[in-house]
Symmetry: C2
Subunit: 641 residues, 2 copies
């Protein structure tokens, strides 16, 4: 088989591949991240590349315009390699990996989760007030009595005896690693050691034994592994302080934008391995940055708790998720044993432990359990709804007596992925927009007040509301006026939010009719799922006393605009609270308290899964929600334009 060298710019990464491979697959192999939401099926049209030199063959498709064709632009997944190539990945096809300075990161991330923290502090009973501080990994400093002829129990039993003076642990486990070094360690340290205990599947494990008193250095990580975004925090397990927070795109995004395309990709040769590597790389990158910025030794990071949807957790552990998408939709495991993080490829202390928050079903995962835990809706007398807006949206309705959950495939639009100028809620993201009704001039504000680089989820909600209010788009989302900001592209109309010269973006920041369609489907999926769930339980929206909105929207979500576009139901505004990343907050509670870990297990068993697609009214409800705010305006009495 003939082989050719393909070089990608601006990365300047090369790879040798066999003839006829696609440019997209070559890019993936070379570790060059290219946008692709359909995982190479030639459907999403996002993996456009510029051919600088070389011969290719390509399949006809409707996604490359005549103009693009002239400029040597090809769809990476449909273009086969016939010679050595030089390929440029244009900005529009690159994944928005944040390449910020540590200062920028600090600035952005310092604020990113502060809102969540404020909320957690206000609702104190959700967190520390409820769960006793007993972290996943606990350090105990022991001064052992030295052995004598009259007290010659073995080193290990001496250690156990001292531990049992602290607490009557029923089963203590120890690995050969610790036993092998025990004799020397105890004597070298003059019988003064610090033991790190980890909770492991209803037993207690001696994770580490160290000389002297190291109890002041005990750190852990909590993670929310989203389909599009991965967020992690470094926690001081003693003070319970969040030392830092990072979020970045899940590197798996190259292999498809939703869980279904990922599962399909996992079924291909090496697919599972590549997806596993991608999530590990993303997490290890966050871990590395967090320890470096906080001057923490990676060896002092002893544990990690991960929440994530069921597919993400399977991929993290290299467990084939294939059966999740086949009827009757059964995952391999919802409750996973505690493992050594190293077994999953996560680089903390080599003996550190990893726990995954238990999930409910194939489409309601541990992220939902963690959200229920941190929002505390499971404790309330009155009915609440938790809406977690992500690529897979989850809605939970219930109170202290019952909890029912469903899942809606919302797509990644609200996470700034799969939309022309989308970006994550990070520095330079437009998050607030207003448009002058008369001259269509735009005012916006960005996260960290930087020059705009793109639009994040909360910005899109504001923008849609503003476009509706200004009469620029109609209820179906079509642009219906003319202006210098409104342009006809080959495929659809677009509205310029910010011209290139006023931005830090590589092109004008725009919203196209296709973007609006995308966002409309996202908000329609969330709203209709919520509505069906309420109806399924024989309830009305009016019986709900509180609605918690969770998701990675940054510091800001405009409830008024969210209702105006029909994302949220039209209820009394005081019923809504935006609680930030509830899955991450729940994982942190579990990291910090064994009681929260126990509660998560109870909740995952208690939550009932409701499969939306079996409800005969679902498609109808969804279609009706594909308007702004809704086909049935009686459902949104307060919304006026």
């Amino acid at each position: 088989m003939q082989k050719f060298k393909v070089t990608f710019f601006p990365d300047n990464k090369s790879i040798v591949v066999e003839k006829d491979k696609t440019i997209l697959s070559a890019a993936i192999s070379a570790g060059v991240y290219v946008n692709s939401t359909c995982a190479g099926d030639g459907v999403c049209g996002r993996c456009k590349v510029i051919l600088k030199s070389g011969k290719v063959s390509t399949q006809p498709n409707g996604m490359i315009s005549a103009e693009e064709k002239k400029n040597n632009i090809y769809l990476g997944c449909l273009t086969n390699i016939h010679s050595d190539l030089e390929v440029e990945i244009p900005v529009s096809s690159r994944l928005n990996f944040d390449k910020l300075t540590p200062e920028e990161l600090e600035e952005r991330l310092g604020s990113l989760y502060s809102k969540v923290e404020d909320i957690q502090q206000v609702k104190a009973e959700f967190d520390d007030g409820l769960f006793k501080h007993s972290p996943f990994a606990t350090k105990l400093y022991l001064e052992l009595s030295q052995p004598t002829l009259n007290d010659s129990v073995s080193d290990l039993e001496r250690l156990y005896r001292a531990l049992r003076r602290f607490e009557e642990f029923p089963v203590i486990q120890t690995g050969l690693f610790n036993i092998r070094q025990l004799g020397e360690l105890l004597r070298d340290s003059e019988w003064k050691v610090t033991v790190t205990l980890g909770k492991r599947n209803d037993t207690v494990e001696i994770v580490l034994i160290e000389s002297a008193d190291t109890t002041d250095k005990n750190f852990g990580f909590c993670f929310d592994i989203g389909t599009t975004t991965i967020s992690g925090q470094l926690i001081d397990l003693n003070s319970k302080k969040i030392l830092g927070t990072k979020a970045t795109y899940n590197q798996q995004a190259t292999f498809g934008s939703d869980v279904i395309t990922r599962i399909v990709y996992a079924g291909q040769a090496d697919g599972l391995e590549k997806l596993h590597e991608a999530v590990c790389n993303t997490m290890n990158q966050i871990i590395r940055e967090l320890v470096l910025e906080n001057n923490v030794d990676l060896n002092d990071a002893n544990c990690i708790v991960c929440s994530g949807n069921t597919t993400m957790i399977h991929l993290l552990l290299s467990v084939d998720p294939v059966h999740i998408r086949k009827e009757p939709y059964v995952p391999t495991a919802n409750f996973l044993p505690v493992l050594r993080a190293a077994e999953a490829g996560i680089k903390i202390n080599p003996r550190g432990l990893l726990s995954c928050v238990p999930g409910v079903s194939s489409y309601v995962g541990g992220d939902t359990t963690a959200g229920v835990l941190s929002s505390a809706i499971y404790k309330k007398d009155k009915l609440s709804i938790l809406i977690d807006i992500g690529t897979n949206g989850e809605i939970v309705l219930g109170n202290k007596d019952f909890l029912v959950a469903c899942a809606a495939s919302a797509g990644p639009a609200f996470e700034g992925s799969g939309v022309t100028s989308g970006m994550r809620a990070s520095s330079g993201a437009i998050q607030k927009v207003s448009i002058n009704k008369d001259d269509f001039s735009v005012k916006y504000s960005t996260i960290a007040d930087k020059k705009p680089r793109g639009i994040c989820g909360s910005g899109y909600i504001d923008l849609l509301g503003a476009l509706l209010e200004a009469g620029i788009i109609d209820k179906s989302g079509k642009i219906k006026v003319e202006d210098k900001r409104i342009r006809q592209t080959e495929t659809s109309k677009e509205f310029v939010v910010c011209f290139k010269e006023d931005s830090d973006a590589a092109a004008d920041i725009v919203i196209s009719e296709a973007d609006i369609e995308n966002l409309k489907r996202s908000k329609g999926a969330i709203y209709s799922a919520t509505a069906i769930l309420v109806k399924h339980l024989g309830l009305e929206f009016s019986s709900i006393s509180e609605i918690f909105i969770a998701g990675g929207f940054g510091t800001y979500l405009d409830i008024e605009k969210s209702i105006k576009i029909g994302l949220l139901p039209d209820l009394e505004r005081s019923k809504f609270s935006f609680i930030g990343n509830s899955a991450l907050a729940g994982a942190r509670q579990i990291l910090l308290s064994n009681q929260a870990m126990v509660m998560a297990n109870i909740l995952a068993s208690k939550i009932t899964y409701f499969e939306l697609s079996v409800d005969p009214g679902y498609m109808d409800e969804y279609s009706q929600a594909l308007f702004f705010p809704h086909t049935d305006l009686a459902k949104f009495p307060s919304v006026k334009f």
Copy 2:
């Protein structure tokens, strides 16, 4: 550094070593096994080698005779390499590794443990009658209900649910290995699987999951890891049948004949690793032969239980035993966690489990616990003594209320090691001897009625008795008559038991005054330890109602002669029972019953260790026992010559 090639014959193995290394260390590195009971300290004089060519330097020592010097014989441990060498290891310096045909092995070993089995069957309450059959690894065949939309619990929870219908296991553990293959395996096998459950540190672990019903194939091994001899059995865990038994010398013997020299050797560079490898190699060889002969697939061997003295168990697990020989004599661990056998280098199913019988102290190990278990002295109302005769002899005195144990360093003479014509109790070993008082003619019988190859422990006991009865040796063990069978060698007198031409041995089968001295010290150590233990507890021998003798003596031990030479106390003969390898029998009970495993833990905690050396009367008692039968003949009223 100059390097030289050393070639050993008859092995024809070569190795390149640095100048000035000793020949013994070169032999060890080359994997050539050379006798050495002092681990290279130049004391035991057993590592004599013949220099065929090359230059060496050697240290003067009293162990090489003028005759030997002339014949280019050197002490391997005191001779340094100065050029390429050719070295021959004479038969007298080789370790007696058995190189028998499978038929011979079968013949020998089939009978070797039959006596033990008979005893076990007679004393039924010791074994099956007491402990419920619940092997260390248990297989359960499950036909799982297939998942449906209404019953969509995950694969792992489905499996757990089915398991809990069998028994309410409190904690079930599963590794990532099994979870990763679970989804495919369940579907490929149409939800019919066999689960192998292993008992692991008070939890139950899913060791293996296999397609279809494989419950008929479930095997395990029990081992007794002795300082000199390692014995193993392959057990059908369903039928409880012993499929085969093997015993061979512990390959660690090259590094010293007793635990102290092994511990010293472990402290040298790579010493621990080499000792670990040697015990693994020996065990893996036994395992390999047993599965081959019984047509068992190694993958169906799921567990192994090992008894052994504390040092042997440390070395098996590569745990440094250094502190065992330093006051206050504390081992790293007496109670070891259940491990995967592969972690210790033992080759059964790669996920199979290994359990070590818990020990009491540095010098009373799991072999003693196992012996107490299988002899069942812990259940008796009346007082019993268990005497386990090995390189390290252990004596336990007690009943259902208390158990006290002590250890006596007896040396390997009764295991046929460290004595001129010694061999293990295997085919061709002289085990019964009588000598005509008038003409000193010798009658003997051998194991399996083969031509004699050497003398085993029970043979030496008979031989000593016969030499005393015939008046050939006096009470101090000196040869005091003249005969054609009696010769003066350079160092001592010897008595020819069997001339070379009547034997399968490489030389005349003899017993020398040095051998008799060795055996006398061994029997003296055992007897005096027993006597001191009885005295320490304020008892008389007459208060003991039963004495159990354990050890690898083959099928035969003459109690009368054992008393005559002063190995055993002079009590009513009906009080004595020879129970064979009680440590192996105990390990087998634990392998077959969880109740036995629990009991072993109780016993190891219950047995009190008594340190002989702290008793002011010990040295006196030992000196008095260095006669046949004893200095104080009043203690042996029935013994007459």
